[in-house]
């Protein structure tokens, strides 16, 4: 089994609902975003490239790419980030992480990992979001877990559930009959930084 994502950039409207859903489900501390919606356009969020009126803008939601050949896994000196052999999800063990940030430096996908630079603070200070979400720890690195706690219950990752535009697909890339395998077969797609050789498991349908 090899779970992956496909994101239809024609449908994505950059609304951040998946990102907010991710924050709430994983009870992320203030200032932490595992899933960020980047604007492909100008120099600020939601601005286009070009000169009025000839301007274009689209969005690229970026979270951990759950690479088949993850640079982070090789870089971690203690195996705190590792690839789950059953699902292909790249996971992070907060209890093991020594906070050296080798994985952050090794990952080519700018900003998908975040380090808890301070004691995590929450807007909602009781335990909320999904059940069995491991507690966030100061001075450890974290990132998208593919909603591991939800996979364990046969649920789709929260970003998939949240997307109001149905721009996100998730499923088994090894299964040729899965919906995701179908859209990847049928659509043109791009991947982030394929030249880095990480073999990302996220496909951007264009």
């Amino acid at each position: 089994m090899h779970y992956g994502f496909a994101i239809d950039t024609k449908r994505c409207i950059g609304c951040h609902t998946c990102a907010v859903g991710c924050r709430m489900e994983n009870h992320l501390p203030k200032g932490i975003w595992w899933n960020r919606i980047l604007t492909k356009g100008g120099e600020d969020m939601d601005t286009p490239e070009g000169i009025f009126p000839d301007v274009t803008m689209s969005y690229v939601p970026v979270a951990c790419q759950h690479c088949e050949n993850p640079a982070c896994v090789k870089a971690c000196p203690v195996g705190a980030t590792y690839k789950d052999p059953e699902t292909g999800a790249v996971r992070q063990d907060y209890d093991k992480c020594i906070g050296c940030r080798m994985c952050v430096a090794a990952c080519p996908y700018t900003g998908v990992r975040s380090f808890n630079w301070a004691e995590p603070e929450y807007t909602i200070d009781f335990e909320c979001g999904g059940q069995n979400v491991p507690a966030h720890q100061k001075h450890t690195v974290e990132k998208c877990t593919m909603c591991w706690h939800r996979l364990a219950k046969d649920e789709e990752p929260m970003c998939i559930r949240m997307c109001p535009e149905r721009a996100r697909y998730w499923g088994d890339l090894d299964d040729p009959n899965s919906e995701i395998s179908k859209v990847i077969r049928e659509r043109e797609y791009m991947q982030l930084l394929p030249e880095k050789g990480t073999k990302p498991s996220v496909y951007y349908l264009v």
Binding site: R36, G41, P77, K96, I98, R101, H139
Partner: protein
């Protein structure tokens, strides 16, 4: 220092009576106090969070790792300088070998110190030995650095044994060869921490290893020169100006090799266009250009001083050595910051207080100048580690028999 003094000291007797007096004790106390202050800063950093540093998710390493690279270089360089003569049976540097080795040991401790203060969870350091992931270049570096530290101490011990006539010169030579290999390895492995991951264009080059070795050689040589000349001035050891001149010429060659490697890398990166061109632009005309051109200028002046016989006086050599070390530091800074300065995904998105150092300027604004700038606490901790290194050095000079012995020279 004046020309007069240095010229005179070539023949002067070491001023034994002035060594190890109040000045040294005072220096030891100052270093100890600063070390304690640094540890206090570190405690603050750990309790209040590394949010107090300038490091953030998009520039996740900073001054500590810069210094780590820098001190690994200094230590490796020192050992290389001390072991090359022994390994190849060259004459003339024997007198400074022990000091150089001890300097290496101290610098290695500083390098390890800088890694430790950079860690989020130093209390989990033990995991490195329990859950070791041998595919990680950091793991390699920890192993090599550990080996290197142990080997340096053994080397020093062997040296002392040999001085006491209890060990053959062949054995010293054998140890020095091993030490040399490990010293080169240490620096190479440190380079691999940066260069093996594909993440950052600037780092991902095979030249990184040799280049780190070159930097180690030039700043190591420079450091040994400074320490030895200082110790000669302090009356701790005698050093023939001939050897100084030889070392100085070697330094010039190392600096030139370092610059040559840099030039090779820049040409290869920039020649064809593409991503490498961005790196070259960043260094030569972009956010890092002040640091880059400072390095080039420092090294150029350093080489000029070292190769022109008229300028190659003792103060000239000291100045050139300082310039070379500063140049290498500039290079370390470029390597570290430069890796983060060009984001692979340069599209703007949510930018919070944890995203990037100058997050308030927005995603684009944060990259306008140098993406990373250290915060006061980092200077505090850095000063502490530096003080610890100096403290060890001074303690060694005070309590260890590092003074040159004629029978080894």
């Amino acid at each position: 220092m004046t020309e007069n003094v240095s010229a005179a000291s070539t023949a002067a007797e070491p001023k034994h009576e002035t060594w190890g007096g109040k000045g040294l004790n005072a220096a030891i106390i100052v270093a100890a106090v600063l070390t304690v202050a640094g540890i206090a800063c570190w405690a603050m950093q750990l309790s209040g969070g590394m949010v107090q540093t300038g490091m953030r998710n998009l520039d996740s390493w900073g001054l500590y790792i810069t210094n780590f690279m820098f001190f690994v270089g200094l230590s490796a360089g020192g050992l290389i300088i001390s072991s090359v003569p022994n390994a190849f049976g060259m004459k003339g540097f024997g007198g400074i070998s022990k000091v150089a080795i001890w300097t290496s040991v101290c610098c290695t401790c500083a390098a390890i110190g800088f890694v430790v203060v950079d860690l989020g969870g130093p209390a989990r350091l033990w995991e490195l030995f329990v859950y070791s992931n041998f595919s990680s270049p950091l793991m390699w570096d920890i192993l090599v650095l550990g080996t290197y530290l142990v080997l340096s101490v053994i080397y020093l011990w062997a040296y002392l044994r040999a001085e006491a006539g209890r060990m053959s010169h062949t054995a010293i030579r054998a140890i020095s060869v091993v030490a040399l290999i490990v010293a080169i390895l240490v620096h190479n492995v440190t380079a691999w921490i940066f260069s093996l991951a594909p993440a950052h264009e600037f780092w991902h080059t095979a030249l990184m290893g040799p280049w780190f070795v070159a930097s180690a050689l030039d700043c190591g040589t420079a450091l040994v020169l400074i320490v030895c000349l200082a110790l000669r001035r302090a009356g701790y050891l005698a050093l023939d100006q001939r050897h100084v001149a030889n070392l100085a010429k070697m330094l010039a060659v190392f600096v030139l090799v370092d610059l040559y490697f840099y030039a090779c890398d820049l040409l290869t990166s920039g020649y064809f266009g593409g991503e490498g061109t961005e790196v070259v632009a960043m260094l030569t005309s972009g956010a890092l250009s002040p640091v880059f051109w400072t390095q080039v200028a420092l090294m150029a002046v350093s080489v000029a001083i070292l190769v022109v016989p008229k300028l190659r006086t003792t103060p000239g050599v000291v100045v050139a050595s300082v310039l070379a070390i500063l140049g290498v530091f500039c290079k370390r800074l470029q390597i570290l910051v430069g890796g983060f300065q060009i984001p692979n995904l340069d599209m703007p998105g949510v930018t919070t207080q944890y995203a990037i150092t100058n997050w308030q300027a927005g995603f684009t604004g944060a990259y306008q100048g140098m993406v990373y700038a250290p915060q006061p606490i980092e200077f505090g901790v850095t000063l502490g580690v530096l003080a610890m290194c100096i403290l060890f050095l001074l303690l060694g000079l005070k309590y260890l028999p590092l003074k040159p012995a004629e029978n080894v020279d």
